[in-house]
Symmetry: C2
Subunit: 227 residues, 2 copies
């Protein structure tokens, strides 16, 4: 079970799971994100990397409110790089990763899978609490007592986060090694559609982290940006 958002990190994680020999089931969540075009990217990525199946589940996280990704709140632009990762920005969606992992856990249990792959990263990230190793360990502990598989048969669910300790340049490099086509991915929180093509803003936290990663890896990002 691999959570695939359509972004570059989860694409690399899906490639990593495939490279380790897992038969992969990709899961994307339509949660009311303003950048729903990332779901088209998720489809492209899952197909290109050979996921056995791609499932999309909708959940109305917009009802929770309070986030620039799901409500009518402006996405912050041009934040100083030094600030990224040191506070929790308004793009934080309360409890998003618990909800995503919980849905993944339910699917995993129903399909007999025990390994969950997730593209969280605690180095070049936006400061979200649910991207930290202590969150992942607490979720693993919960998974075993929350499921019939865990409670009856002692099954242990593992949450794999192979990018957890990598910086963005290392993620780019690892993706290229694994054959990920980053042109298929979408990262921007606030993209603009021009003539049927989604252009990344280049200025939100997500774009900044992505662009800095490619720059430090000495590579050009293949996706299109608003100039």
């Amino acid at each position: 079970m691999c959570l695939v958002s359509g972004g570059m990190d989860s694409a690399v994680v899906l490639a990593e799971a495939c490279a380790r020999g897992f038969e992969t089931l990709a899961l994307s969540v339509r949660y009311g994100q303003r950048h729903a075009c990332e779901l088209e990217a998720a489809q492209r990525v899952a197909r290109a990397l050979g996921a056995a199946e791609h499932i999309e589940v909708a959940v109305e996280l917009g009802q929770i409110g309070g986030s620039a990704l799901t409500a009518d709140i402006a996405v912050p632009k041009d934040r100083p790089a030094a600030n990224l990762g040191h506070d929790v920005p308004v793009t934080y969606v309360p409890a998003r990763n618990i909800v995503f992992l919980s849905i993944a856990l339910g699917l995993a249990e129903a399909r007999g899978a025990r390994d969950l792959f997730v593209g969280v990263n605690a180095i070049d990230y936006s400061g979200y609490p649910d991207c930290r190793p202590e969150f992942l360990r607490a979720f693993e502990a919960l998974a075993s007592v929350a499921t019939a598989a865990g409670a009856e048969a002692g099954a242990r669910f593992r949450v794999h986060a192979p990018l957890l300790e990598l910086d963005k340049a290392q993620i780019v490099a690892r993706g290229l090694e694994l054959g990920v086509d980053f042109a298929l991915t979408h990262t921007c929180y606030d993209p603009v559609s021009r003539d049927g093509v989604w252009l990344a803003c280049g200025r939100c936290d997500a774009c900044q982290l992505r662009l800095a990663g490619f720059a430090r890896a000495g590579l050009r990002d293949p996706i299109a940006y608003l100039s």
Copy 2:
């Protein structure tokens, strides 16, 4: 934050939260349940008990599959009472309570609430693993590391399960003490609509547990059953 399904247990829990002086926000989840009429009951219950607000969030748990409550699998009927609670039946929805509590947690964080109330019960129950005390404690541990409120400000979320150790007859008695009108609630997994009225089957696990609870409390259940 109180999860309100429309059933009798969560109605008693909502009444309990109100009686303890909490301003209550009721949350119901439309998850693809075949007995979606329980959501109408949830609305009636939230209104009658004076919840400050009632929010309904949709999540497509039917995509997970494998459960008689969300897929085209027959709901078991007339199971011997001795079996209830001793195995995990086909009405189990994988990871349902983690998903519900995660959405409740997100809403609680967004609204500044720290107390989650939930009607799980580990005595007269259907044997679901995510109704046990160890599940609730593991979820509390997760909540503190998964949220910005927990990670930045050290907020502790509490999961209250006031019915955890009560049997069904005690739940009925407690509800009547608190002024719950059980005629507003809906319990059956497999109801039938006749002339615009939902009739409970009286034979699924949920109906059996409910009817036995009223009988042991020496009371008549006020809802309508298929005779």
